[in-house]
């Protein structure tokens, strides 16, 4: 089980628009690590 941060009542779900901060880019592994900053729009609820 994961512990959600206080400001996040529900995890981001597919089609939600979010803002992420990129923490690390590893081009050779084709990976970008980032952290969630804000949920801009919840499409999953509107659907």
């Amino acid at each position: 089980m994961a512990t959600l941060p206080v400001w996040l009542d529900m995890p981001p779900l597919p089609n939600d628009t979010i803002v992420v901060r990129i923490k690390k880019i590893i081009p050779e592994k084709r990976k970008i690590y980032s952290s969630l900053l804000k949920i801009v729009r919840r499409e999953s609820i509107n659907e």
Binding site: A2, I18, I22, I32, L36, V40
Partner: protein, 248 residues
């Protein structure tokens, strides 16, 4: 009057296809089970139910038996994937009185293969038509072949469901990776016709930068999302965004 004329033209096409192997196209609209009598090699006659696909060709019912579809499996599940797509066929038999015809897709695909395969070589870019979309792969029709393209052949980033990106009937550009007329081999990739967004990743994204993204999937404490750099847009990049701490 016009309807009568259209019907006449449609039957002319059916007859030409039957006599001269002209390839026709129609939309697959249904699956039906037909009872047929088959004669074994020892002379015994037995009745068997055969799954057929029904194609609407200008209001003429064209039946294509499972064996004539030219697909790997002839079960209903595999045939169902073709419903809604435009199917190419050659007429085997027709009956104007009942307004029906029996056709073969396999024969049409073989004819296309014979004509098209010699025209192209490795590295060429051609168009393929999407005939079936599932969540993890799509089936495309290209140069007379039915080819299964997985997510890794289609997109650079993470895709949760291909049905969100592709639709039956879409025409997509594909790169020929391997082609052999004698061995009947055709390998294609759609991904390689697009520029790899990870190639210039450091130009478009910087560490510490904040970007707008759309969530495509999620796991226990992370979500997958793709980001679009507004000013220097260079394709979609999938990244993992952490939103929670995993408890031990």
């Amino acid at each position: 009057m016009i309807e009568e004329l259209e019907k006449q033209i449609a039957w002319q096409n059916i007859n030409t296809s039957e006599d001269k192997n002209k390839i026709l196209t129609g939309k697959a609209v249904a699956i039906e089970s037909e009872k047929v009598k088959l004669t074994n090699s020892d002379g015994k006659v037995k009745e068997e139910n055969i799954n057929c696909i029904v194609v609407n060709f200008k209001n003429i019912k064209v039946i294509i038996p499972g064996k004539e579809l030219g697909i790997e499996k002839e079960d209903k599940k595999s045939i169902r994937n073709l419903i809604g797509s435009e199917i190419k066929f050659i007429i085997l038999e027709s009956d104007k009185l009942t307004n029906t015809a029996v056709a073969s897709r396999k024969k049409a695909m073989d004819k296309i293969k014979n004509i098209q395969l010699r025209k192209y070589e490795k590295g060429d870019i051609v168009y393929a038509k999407v005939i079936s979309v599932l969540s993890k792969y799509v089936i495309v029709e290209c140069l007379g072949f039915d080819i299964k393209l997985k997510i890794t052949d289609l997109e650079y980033g993470y895709v949760a469901n291909l049905a969100n990106l592709y639709q039956v009937g879409d025409k997509i550009k594909v790169l020929i990776k391997d082609i052999d007329e004698e061995k009947n081999i055709l390998k294609i990739s759609h991904k390689e016709t697009k520029e790899d967004p990870y190639k210039n990743i450091r130009k478009n994204y910087i560490e510490g930068g904040e970007y707008l993204a759309k969530v495509t999937g999620f796991s226990d404490n992370r979500c997958f999302c793709f980001t679009k750099s507004r000013n220097r847009y260079n394709g979609n990049i999938t990244c993992m965004a952490r939103y929670a701490t995993a408890s031990k």
